[in-house]
Symmetry: C2
Subunit: 188 residues, 2 copies
DNA sequence: GTCTATATTCGGATAGAC
DNA sequence: GTCTATCCGAATATAGAC
């Protein structure tokens, strides 16, 4: 692995754990086993490195979610596959976490991967809901866009509840709750 | 207002905006218009002050939510009142935000108000759902505890989506989505 | 109770040698 | 490309005067 890659991966890990404000260049260097000069040779500074790390995390997350949402089965099955995916719940979401950091939100370069990830995710789930309705699998009563936003919000909010509680259970409850409400839309 | 109160209110405001890691004692002093020595006379340090601020925020939040959830009308109406309450969406949740901060989660004194707020909120909403089912207003199919967790998660996740997007709309979509799914449970 | 002075470490980087 | 030296301000206090 290249020095750049190790720096990016270390930054991904530290941003996930400590957030942007809580992650120092020195901590990144130590985690990556890379010297000061080396880091500043490859990257302009902390914001530059964070931007690279966030772009990579966004790409990876999208890949995983895309797979869940194209799983075999009905629209409901695919959304359930996304919601039920095995997660490290107490760690939270690598991307969603960044939405809380004012320095990330204030910098368009840093916010862009976060915004795009959620835009894509909501749109993809809305598409599935709409397809399910057209296919007659889901009742036509609910709005696909709104429903998709609710599904994504349940996951992001589930992380918040779980971390607040110090245990994964509230996340799992929220997911079951969402699936219970969604199941009532099935026409079968 | 006493010096203590001004310090607590300033800490509440700064924790909301910048989080725990991002809030310095100096910033608190300046925001409160209080000197260094004065702050350390009244509080042992940053964690002590933050604990006082979080306890107060938790108490206030609970008061507001309790009012929504006891509004006139059916169980659905009360949950809708909670979900639709006018919020400063892009600022996020004063309490939920803390769940992302590792230093808050690691300190039992700081985590307690956060955990208790969400425990109470989920329990109160679960109670409403169960009452609605018993009264025949809501279909008996969904689990009250799980549904309540989903409702609270939609709000917390809605904040994440809105901040990521830089606009309030995704929050409002998520709320409408949740209400749409919940409305389908009404037997009327 | 409040103020000013002082201390230590960290954050975030630049400079220049190798 | 990588290393070490150096810089300046901020974070988080403690000490002691008023």
């Amino acid at each position: 692995m290249t020095t750049q890659d190790r720096l990016i991966e270390s930054t991904q890990a530290l941003l996930w754990e400590r957030g942007y404000v809580g992650t120092s260049p020195k901590a990144i260097q130590q985690h990556a086993g890379v010297g000061q000069g080396s880091m500043y040779h490859h990257f302009a500074g902390k914001p530059d490195l964070a931007a690279a790390a966030l772009r990579r995390s966004a790409e990876q997350l999208r890949g995983v979610a895309a797979a869940d949402l194209s799983a075999p089965g009905s629209a409901y099955d695919r959304i359930a596959a996304y919601l039920r995916r095995d997660r490290d719940v107490l760690r939270g979401c690598r991307i969603g976490r960044m939405a809380q950091d004012p320095d990330v939100i204030a910098d368009p370069e840093l916010r862009a991967p976060v915004e795009e990830t959620f835009d894509w995710l909501r749109a993809r789930i809305a598409e599935l809901v709409a397809e399910g309705q057209v296919a007659g699998e889901l009742a036509p009563g609910v709005d696909p866009t709104d429903t998709a936003a609710a599904v994504v919000a349940v996951v992001q909010g589930g992380y918040v509840l779980a971390r607040a509680a110090g245990r994964a259970e509230p996340f799992e409850q929220a997911v079951r709750g969402a699936l219970g409400l969604l199941a009532a839309q099935r026409t079968a």
